[in-house]
Amino acid sequence: MNSQRLKTKIAGLELASPVLTASGCGGTGRELAQFCELTRLGAFVTTSVMARPRAGRPTPRVAETPSGILTAMGLPGPGVEGFLEHELPWLAEQGVPVVVSVAGNSAEEFAELAARLSGEPGVAAIEVNVACPNVADRGRMFAWHPGAAAAVVRAVRGAAPAGVPVIAKLTPDVTDIVTIALACVDAGADALTLINTVEGMAIDHRTLRPAVTGVSGGLSGPAIRPIALRCVYQVHAALPRTPIIGCGGVATGLDALEYVLAGASAVAVGTTLFHDPGAVPRIARELDEALAARRIERLADAVGLAHRPAGHAPPQVRPATPPPPHTAPQTAPAAVPPAREAAEAPAASGRPAEPDPAPAPAAEVKERTP
């Protein structure tokens, strides 16, 4: 495995691997550590931390659905004080960047959480869960409204230390995810995680009732991968300089590659961990092999490649042997379309709400071609 190839960067945060755990799917970290070395995770993303301890929803919380699971959790957790006392100190000692996910009932609560995390060592980034599809009070899902989502992101950005990246995690259950993404980046999000679960439903054949408490739940796993991939592609087209963590049904290195080609700089693995707790290092290895087979020397060279106009000869897929020296990726398009810069500066206003008509995030690819 080429350790250089997989290096990636999320808004200033350098990661040795682009394969992360997804929020809410890696427990406290201790459980996963029994099955894989945590140092081999790109980062550990915590379950969303809330202000107070929270029991979550009653069981049944999960139903198996085709290529996925439906869950209704209600954001259970020990609350921020419990997290800071029992979970973060241990995680911070594991030699893996820790991304702390936060969730709250109001923008103020989000801000208080970010402030509370400020002095704490070992917080590499804050992920803002503006999508809480499992919480009973659906009317207050911030991620449904650009204004509400932006207010939360602004509050967290304001309260978090300047050096700590703020990542907004969005729901796909909106009419136009690009509008929400633009609002969040405008409000100061340094990066985006796409996506949280998709609202769905299952009915139990025996009880003749909804299979999870709370009637509907969040669908996750490979079943939602095409939806998540579409979201990543659309948002990358509109915001080519905003780092994206792709999330939804990643189970193999080739799944991860699809996300990278769509525009993600990293991927997060959730439901797959329930099935295969050692999945993250395996996916990283497979991604490395998949890149090597396509003569892609650096992950960054592959980010957003799927946006190139048709007609570019695809690089030949070869067996995964080390590439000869000086092999430039045969991928950089000759021309870099203009009109990208407008969407780049987070503070810019009056940004078009529509994705650009000619998406081709080739600038980075070209810059880095030897």
């Binding site: 427990g27 029991a55 929803r57 069981t59 209600g74 919480v135």
Partner: protein
């Protein structure tokens, strides 16, 4: 020997029909050598490209040293995942994680133990019986089911137990009635000092109640609850939670897989399974208002 569970691709040695159930023996030396009675294994179903992502959790009937180490599980075929397992043949592969969860705690002194079981889950009592015997304990069995075909291991219980009693609801084997109804007599007859239970959740509840009436400690294995509610078996998904009354008087939602599956019967809030009791840590604060609701 290490406490850490392992994930391994195990080879199937045999799958047999036993009464209404299936018994599957897997070659899994690393799991066999780590196993302690009460622990369980989590099996992936559907093969390499499966779309079924929930792991199936089963207690372990027996570990043996043959073939480097084997693990035998007993299960009922109730859904497509267990049907897939029941259809496996010798030399097939299955991905297994184990041993998982906290085992039965063992008495320090050679006491008289009553082991109460029902359904396929009762199979997990036999590994415990071996260990108790080796410690010089007396082991008495009480097994129950709706019909004789649903009572797993009655012959084995008669063979290895200091005594064994069976109840069936239809009277097709042993005494007609339920385990709960027969328990007081069996406790009196055997002079049991400790009760261990394994099986359907309702059964565990009555075991706990009767043991409590006699002032006896009970340890019960919530494998069936875990099978119904869990997804990962390793403690990361948080779907298998139940309310447990702690030593400090606080009720917490704990995981059947990682905090159990063996729990002290008198600590489980049986009447509140499938709910979040209003006094549990982190319960919604105002009755009638959905958590996360406007009341905050």
């Amino acid at each position: 020997m290490s406490d850490t569970p392992v994930q391994t691709s195990a080879t199937v040695l045999t799958v047999r029909q036993v009464q209404d159930y299936h018994a599957m023996t897997l070659v899994a030396p690393a799991i066999a050598e780590r196993f302690r009675p009460g622990q369980f294994v989590a099996l992936a179903v559907g093969g390499e490209h499966t779309g079924r992502l929930v792991r199936r959790c089963f207690g372990v009937y027996e570990v043996k040293s043959d073939y480097g180490g084997t693990v035998e599980v007993v299960f009922a075929d109730t859904e497509p995942g267990t049907a897939w397992l029941a259809g496996l043949r010798s030399r097939d592969k299955v991905d297994v994680i184990g041993p998982l969860g906290r085992p039965f705690r063992l008495p320090r002194d050679p006491v008289t133990c009553l082991l109460v079981g029902g359904g396929p889950g009762g199979a997990a009592l036999f590994a415990l019986a071996d260990t108790l015997h080796r410690r010089g304990c007396q082991v008495h069995f009480l097994l129950g089911g709706r019909t004789g075909k649903q009572v797993f291991g009655s012959r084995m219980a008669h063979r290895i137990g200091d005594s064994a009693a069976v109840t069936t609801e239809d009277g097709s084997m042993g005494e007609r009635g339920t385990v709960g109804a027969a328990m007081p007599r069996v406790i009196a007859d055997t002079g049991a000092e400790v009760v261990y239970g394994c099986g359907p959740t309702d059964l565990l509840r009555s075991i706990t109640r009767v043991a409590g009436e006699f002032g006896l400690p009970s340890q019960v294995c919530l494998e069936e609850f875990l099978q119904r509610t869990g997804a990962c078996g390793i403690g990361v998904c948080m779907t298998c939670v139940l309310p447990l009354h702690g030593e400090d008087g606080v009720t917490r939602m704990v995981r059947a897989c990682a905090d159990g599956p063996v729990l002290r019967g008198d600590r489980v809030r049986w009447g509140d399974l499938g709910t979040i009791p209003f006094d549990a840590l982190g319960a919604p604060r105002v009755l009638g208002v959905p958590e996360g609701g406007r009341a905050r």
